[in-house]
């Protein structure tokens, strides 16, 4: 693809999630997991999406990268991180803490659509899924609402400024597609390795604009579509057993149905 100077504006969704390394515990009332006082960070796949967007800007194919997050006041932390890692501006759609626990991908998609209605973007880049709910829905929902093409689970993104050539990781292998702009993309693990935020950029981040909007002002309906019935821990791992020899092992495996009898 011939590369020409682009003028693309990229909107990157970044979600504040429980840090990947935390061992989560279920709340005693089984309505969810404990998040109070627990270490949070930017969703790893969102970080990868952001890195790709910043790379597009460095290659002069994009002119602006805007970070977006929807949630409580603490979202500002991940937005500042995004600004420190190269985003030019940030948009925070703040909702009450009560609404945060009931936020669904559908609401986020509706909100993104409203933002895009008022502000032209060429690419919406999300992480392929959030590591707290593993929903992997927002991108597809948004593409459907906007009638935009979607290229999800991207492991490589190339552009000539007019369309995108995206290599996607799918169960069968790699799928390379050409996608016209504007489009919705989602980042998979092997797309890139996010950079460290440099010290000067961390300090410059606090001077970059962070715009606050409310879901109400945007006219987004946050009524939940789903009800969580119960959240419980996976069953505790049972102790195994010892066998005396290999033939006994094979017999046992056959008995339990792990090996064809």
């Amino acid at each position: 693809l011939a590369v020409i100077q682009g003028r693309m504006r990229v909107l990157v969704g970044v979600k504040r999630v429980v840090d990947y390394a935390v061992k989560v515990r279920v709340k005693p009332d089984k309505t969810g997991v404990i998040t109070e006082g627990v270490q949070h960070s930017i969703n790893p796949f969102d970080e990868i999406a952001l890195e790709e967007a910043v790379k597009l800007k460095e290659k002069k194919q994009a002119t602006e990268v805007v970070a977006f997050s929807m949630g409580g006041a603490k979202c500002q932390e991940v937005l500042r991180t995004a600004l420190a890692k190269g985003a030019d501006k940030a948009i925070h759609v703040e909702i009450s803490d009560e609404d945060v626990s009931k936020l669904e991908p559908l609401h986020v998609a509706r909100t993104l659509r409203k933002i895009i209605e008022n502000d032209k973007f060429d690419i919406v880049f999300l992480g392929k899924q959030a590591i707290d709910d593993d929903a992997s829905q927002t991108g597809s929902l948004l593409a459907g609402m906007l009638n935009w093409p979607q290229a999800l689970y991207a492991s490589k993104v190339e552009t000539d400024g007019q369309s995108l050539k995206v290599t996607r990781e799918i169960d069968g292998g790699l799928d390379t597609i050409k996608v016209s702009l504007p489009a919705v993309l989602s980042a998979d693990l092997r797309l890139n390795e996010p950079r460290y935020a440099t010290l000067p950029n961390i300090m410059k981040a606090k001077k970059k604009p962070l715009e606050k909007k409310s879901a109400k002002d945007l006219g987004v309906d946050l009524a939940p579509q789903t009800t969580v019935l119960e959240v419980s821990e996976p069953p505790v791992r049972q102790a195994g057993g010892f066998v005396d020899d290999v033939s006994t092992l094979i017999t046992r495996l056959k008995e339990k149905g792990f090996v064809k009898a």
Binding site: A21, V22, K23, V24, R25, I34, G37, V38, Q39, E77, R80, T81, A84, Y196, A197, T198, L199, P200, N201, I202, M203, A205, K206
Partner: protein
């Protein structure tokens, strides 16, 4: 830490199996602003990904990892508290302390060298002419060039003002004669910030600061010293024999050298104390993992009261040391009149207590603590010297005592 998460295991009741969701009481991020936590996260990731994997190799091979230093430069770690005007990062002393503490968790020796390099950059940035700053700060900030600080001589360590390296002005050059000892980074550095005296002018007032560059006529290196620790940094005697240095390389005024040294050393002390903190923190984390796994007499070490008590003492020492270091950093950032004494106290307290912590953690590992397969012994060997450099802990006591005995007490306030 990632190590602790990999190694900790579940068992039935007992102290060792409780897993709290919140972090432990000695986490280094306590009391930091959101921005400082961001800086700490970057430093931590860098230390774990880029330094920790190489720490043992650099010690064994006695090699300074220039490629890793350049990466550190990319992150803004080369001139942390220099002005942004010529490429510094414009960070505060607290930011710098937070960074060095994390880097020391990756490799204490290399982190300490990075802090010395930063002190040199700051001296040039603060006291150097615009021409010197423009010429040298950018490449120091990026770690394209390395810097060494040269005050100590074979015959003058604590008695720094008795230094004998001297210079005579001859036209556009200073002609320098003398030797400096224990120079960290010598051989790899291309820029040497040297304290020397105008020939014939005695005492501290006769001292000025000159930037000597690699390749200058009459400048030579001594042999690389073999040391018990700090092996990733070369240490050498350096010699000046009718060494010709342009007078434009003078840093600061004719009689300002000793003041520059004293001003810079506050930060130097704070930084090295921060490195001790990192070594201690890592050591305690390693010890905690070991206590949860190792069993004797059919009991986990973590369930034995002696280990619990000892661990509590070690953790309390870390916590107290960190508070001293952070307070000294704040004094520096606020330019408090007590900053010199605060830095001396922080250095004295943290380097001594953190060494005890590392040693105490080693004790918990028993025989394994002695093996070079385990990194703990390297943290011990690397942080021992912190009680000696940047002014010995004996000199720290002198500095503190002088403050106490020459200033009005609270009693005399009334």
């Amino acid at each position: 830490s990632m190590l602790s998460r990999c190694l900790s295991r579940l068992s039935s009741s007992s102290l060792s199996s409780l897993r709290a969701l919140n972090t432990y009481c000695i986490h280094p991020n306590e009391g930091l602003t959101a921005e400082q936590k961001e800086i700490q996260t970057t430093a931590r990731s860098f230390a774990m990904n880029e330094m920790r994997p190489g720490m043992v190799k650099w010690d064994e091979e006695e090699s300074l990892p220039l490629d890793v230093l350049r990466k550190a430069g990319d992150l803004g770690f080369g001139a942390l508290y220099c002005d942004v005007e010529y490429g510094g990062s414009g960070g505060s002393r607290t930011d710098a302390s937070v960074v060095f503490e994390q880097l020391a968790m990756g490799c204490t020796s290399t982190a300490a060298y990075i802090s010395i390099h930063n002190m040199c950059a700051w001296m040039i940035d603060t006291y150097g002419s615009a021409a010197l700053r423009e010429k040298h700060i950018p490449s120091l900030a990026s770690f394209e060039n390395l810097a060494s600080y040269c005050l100590t001589e074979p015959d003058s360590g604590s008695d720094a003002a008795a230094l004998r390296t001297s210079a005579v002005k001859k036209g556009d050059y200073y002609v320098v004669n003398g030797s400096k000892a224990f120079i960290s980074g010598a051989g790899q550095s291309s820029k040497y910030v040297v304290m020397m005296r105008h020939e014939g002018q005695p005492g501290p007032k006769g001292i000025f600061c000159l930037l000597v560059e690699e390749g200058m006529e009459g400048f030579s290196l001594g042999k690389k010293e073999k040391k018990v620790g700090w092996n990733s940094q070369p240490t050498r005697i350096i010699n000046f024999e009718d060494c010709k240095v342009p007078i434009s390389n003078q840093i600061g005024g004719d009689n300002e050298g000793f003041n520059i040294a004293m001003a810079g050393i506050n930060g130097g002390r704070l930084n090295i104390a921060s490195c001790s903190l990192g070594a201690a923190q890592m050591s305690v984390d390693i010890a905690i993992d070991h206590l949860k796994v190792r069993k004797q007499f059919n009991t986990k070490l973590a369930d034995m009261q002696w280990h619990q008590f000892k661990l509590a003492e070690l953790a309390t020492k870390i916590s107290a040391s960190r508070l001293m270091v952070r307070r000294a950093a704040l004094s520096m950032d606020e330019n408090s009149p007590q900053k010199a004494a605060h830095c001396a106290m922080a250095k004295l307290f943290a380097t001594e207590n953190c060494f005890e912590v590392v040693s105490g953690a080693m004790q918990m590992l028993g025989g394994y603590g002695m093996l070079k397969d385990f990194p703990l012994q390297q943290f011990m060997r690397d942080c021992r010297v912190h009680q000696v450099i940047e002014g010995t802990n004996e000199i720290m006591r002198l500095v503190i005592a002088r403050d106490l005995l020459t200033k009005p007490t609270a009693l005399s306030d009334a």
